[in-house]
């Protein structure tokens, strides 16, 4: 069962060779036992999960199940799930029990899926290493001294360590793709607007997008079928025809044009990462794909642009955490302003405070035009680069992250170094494009390397097709960290 994909589990559950209670019990036992070392979960509620599993088994017995029915999924602790503590990795919300379900949770519940637990994450999704979590860092299953990436580090580690078959995450500047790369699993961030943000705690609203983590491209497609779709409660949700993301998985990829941006292969990428990515590209050529060089001349601006826009939105989004209605309130204060100051000073960690300060600054009178407006203009230029590139190619490929997983503490003291670890992923969010990371080998220290695929708007099915075909020809995605066989 350990290495079953969602696809396989669905077959076993439908044939009733396995029950949801058995599957859920198996994975929760792993989460509570061996999984503890990775600190991948913030909340586990075995009884609640098993009760959902029993309900799923009833559906399956009645033949009313669908693909995800009875399968346990871990959800990033950024999604509100009714009755579950939903912390967003912060002390500020450490006491917050969500009274409602996020759209994503609702979709999984409707499908009869089981919530296996809520995963650890960088505080308010601000971080690239999972070190900013109030609940402590997550450890990389390939090497517990290394980070799993962030901000969805808990979900990525949970899937890599086989603590769950699959998980959800969110990606504002790479928070699905980078941890997927660093832990050797698959993750996709769909086109902005494909998955509703309702009930997903906001970091930077114009960039945030939810997506799945799994071990195969096929599983990603199955999850996306459940997660995607219009939701009237999110004004940025797109009203489109329902898509079957599995529809193109088996299509041949011969003749598809892969764009290789020179900016992705310049200085800054570690040689072992470059080697693995080159090998992956070679594999795609063998599958009949063509490669073409493309340029993304403004991509170098994406990190500074992102670190103006994302903090600007965050500074406003996080204003609601004021200790008045819910969340952390300082135990002692002298007046209203003191209550605000102390509650927020105590409730937020250093990285969150840094971004609130940056965001407040760039929106301030006299600075707004120079920072925020300028960054918005550059954002359009960055998006235009991609539009131009997609006239020459069908998909863009390159490294997901400039290096394999770094060690816990290695970059924690240097925010700029930390921010640069998202250099290849951020532009995709700024443009609102779909991006994906799949395992593509290992680096010098035997840590996973991720290959990034960037598609044109709404081209998820084609990206999944390419990834699936690659996974038919290679076996990087089935490699497992050592020492995880024991339950």
């Amino acid at each position: 069962m350990l290495n079953f994909t969602i696809k396989q589990l669905a077959v076993e559950l439908a044939a009733r060779r396995l029950s949801s209670v058995e599957v859920t019990g198996f994975f929760i036992k792993r989460i509570k036992g061996l999984g503890k070392v990775f600190n991948a979960f913030i909340s586990v509620d075995e009884e609640r999960s098993l009760s959902a599993a029993r309900a799923a088994d009833v559906l399956l017995r009645q033949g009313k199940g669908c693909t995800l029915t009875g399968i346990p999924f871990a959800h990033k602790d950024i999604f509100c799930a009714q009755g579950w503590r939903t912390t967003c990795g912060s002390k500020m919300l450490s006491n917050f029990v969500a009274p409602y379900d996020a759209h994503v949770i609702e979709r999984f519940n409707t499908a009869g899926a089981v919530i296996a637990g809520k995963t650890n994450m960088d505080e308010f999704a601000m971080g690239s290493s999972n070190e900013t979590s109030y609940f402590g860092p997550v450890r990389n299953p390939w090497n517990t001294a290394a980070v799993p990436g962030g901000s969805s580090g808990g979900s990525a580690a949970a899937v890599a360590a086989r603590l769950v078959p699959a998980a959800t995450g969110t990606d504002t500047g790479g928070s699905i793709r980078q941890p997927a790369a660093l832990t050797g699993v698959c993750g996709i961030k769909p086109t902005y607007g494909v998955v509703s943000r309702y009930g997903m705690i906001a970091f930077a609203s114009s960039l945030d997008q939810a997506g799945p983590f799994a071990r195969t491209a096929e599983d990603l497609a199955l999850m996306l079928n459940t997660m995607a779709g219009f939701d009237a409660r999110d004004s940025t949700s797109l009203e489109r025809k329902t898509e079957d993301y599995t529809r193109d998985l088996s299509k041949p990829v011969r003749g598809l044009r892969i764009g290789l941006p020179s900016e992705f292969f310049a200085d800054g990428v570690a040689s072992d990462v470059a080697r693995a990515v080159d090998a992956a590209i070679t594999e795609f050529r063998k599958l009949g794909c063509e490669t073409v060089e493309v340029r993304l001349p403004n991509m170098k601006l994406s990190v500074p642009v992102y670190y103006v826009l994302a903090p600007a939105e965050a500074s406003s989004n996080l204003s609601r955490y004021d200790g008045v209605r819910y969340g952390h309130r300082a135990p002692e204060y002298v007046d209203l302003v003191d209550m605000y100051k102390k509650s927020r000073a105590q409730g937020f960690g250093a990285e969150v405070k840094r971004r609130i300060l940056i965001g407040t600054y760039v929106l301030s009178h006299g600075y707004y035009d120079a920072y925020y407006i300028k960054a918005q203009k550059l954002r359009r230029l960055i998006a235009q680069d991609f539009t131009d590139a997609f006239t020459k190619c069908d998909v863009i490929m390159g490294p997901t992250s400039p290096s394999t997983a770094f060690n816990i503490g290695e970059k924690a003291g240097d925010p700029v170094q930390m921010y640069l670890s998202d250099i290849y992923t951020i532009a995709v969010n700024l443009a609102g494009l779909p991006g994906m990371s799949i395992p593509a080998g290992f680096g010098d220290t035997n840590l996973p390397v991720g290959l990034q695929l960037i598609g044109n708007y709404f081209d998820e099915a084609r990206m999944l097709n390419l990834a699936h075909q690659y996974q038919q020809a290679t076996d990087w995605h089935v490699r497992m960290p050592e020492g995880l066989e024991e339950p």
Partner: protein
Amino acid sequence: MNWEIVIGLETHAQLSTRSKIFSSASTAFGASPNSQASAVDIALPGVLPVLNKGAVERAIRFGLAVGATINRRSIFARKNYFYPDLPKGYQISQYEVPVVSGGSLTIMVGDVEKTVRLTRAHLEEDAGKSLHEDFKGMSGIDLNRAGTPLLEIVSEPDMHSAEEAVAYAKALHALVCWIDICDGNMQEGSFRCDANVSVRRPGEPLGTRCEIKNLNSFRFMEQAIKFEVRRQIELIEDGGKVAQETRLYDPDKNETRTMRSKEDAMDYRYFPDPDLLPLEISSELIKSIEAHMAELPQAMRERFVRQFGLSAYDAALLTTSRDIAAYYEAVAGQVDAKLAANWINGELSSRLNDQNILIADSPVRPEALIWLIGRIVDGTISGKIAKDVFRDLWDGKVVGVQQAGGSLSALTVQADAYIEKMGLKQISDSGEIGKLIDQVLAANEKSVAEYRAGKEKAFNALVGQVMKATKGKANPTQVNEMLKARLAK
């Protein structure tokens, strides 16, 4: 030395949608605290705003009513500040591009018409309420009002007296009620004004302004502006300078006082709300709203002058609300339109005001007034007696009229019978009037002598005596003519 007063008004009109501007919670007034605050209104983590189309339609209706530009694309922005009754830590408003730009409102100041230009009108959400009493040193927060849709209507500084400001506010109030976008209930805060007031010497540039916040009655507005104007003039005349600041009006002391100075002005860090797409308005939507718009008060006012020959003043009074106008049109269509205007603006309106009753609830329905005016015109009763009959109609003493409902013919039967029974019919029999005149002339020789000596007043006294003798039932025109004839002999 004379001073010119310059006033601009910012008005918050609460839009009459059933649900809030960004959530589905009810906007009904007076519910128990926090019972009408949804997850969106209390800003739980993860919730998102969804724009209420009804609020947009009302904003468009307003824009059309004042001849403004409806911007096809407007932007919702976040106005960031911390306050306990502002759950998100920001208010969603419109900043750089509002839904409505420009337009104007024609107002009557006394019987002089004046046009006030509008700067803009934008959509925004209201905050909740902080309650500082009854919580033993703590404050209570009621978020029922949080997210209530508001249209903020900003005028140009076109008003030059407290009276003009009040006339504008009243006309605006009447308009938003007329086009049914706001219930206009000022006590419940559905319509509240902030006044920007400054003074200058004629010909000089604008003076420094002060903003007086939350004027929620026309009377307070007038008093507050008058006080503020006096304060600013005295300050300057004493060699001082007006400081730009926000002031509050205290109706108990009848004074304004500093709330916050410009130095304390907050940096709201406005930026476009990334949770809401730009508001796009199609020309089809504008056209369909336009097609369903009722005749506007100004157009109706002009029509009344044209069609019924009313004075601008009377026409303005009759178009202060849709109900008054409808009442008037119901009556004017059947009887003498000028008389109808006089009765509605006179007797009926003073009764309604005295008893604080809306015309829609008037005990004297249009049918009854049609009958009454009809009986004056056909000479059945005198104008003086008609006032008594009106009173009896109002008091429900004309038995059967209420039961007759809206049917004019049924009502006529009952009311005519009442006049008959009470002996209120006008005396137009010249023989009878002649007899009475003879008696009065005989009994008032002194007055007769005075009249003949050229004292006009004496004539009126004699008419009065004749009328008194008939308990007001004599036809006054007839009395006048016959009396003149007799005295001329």
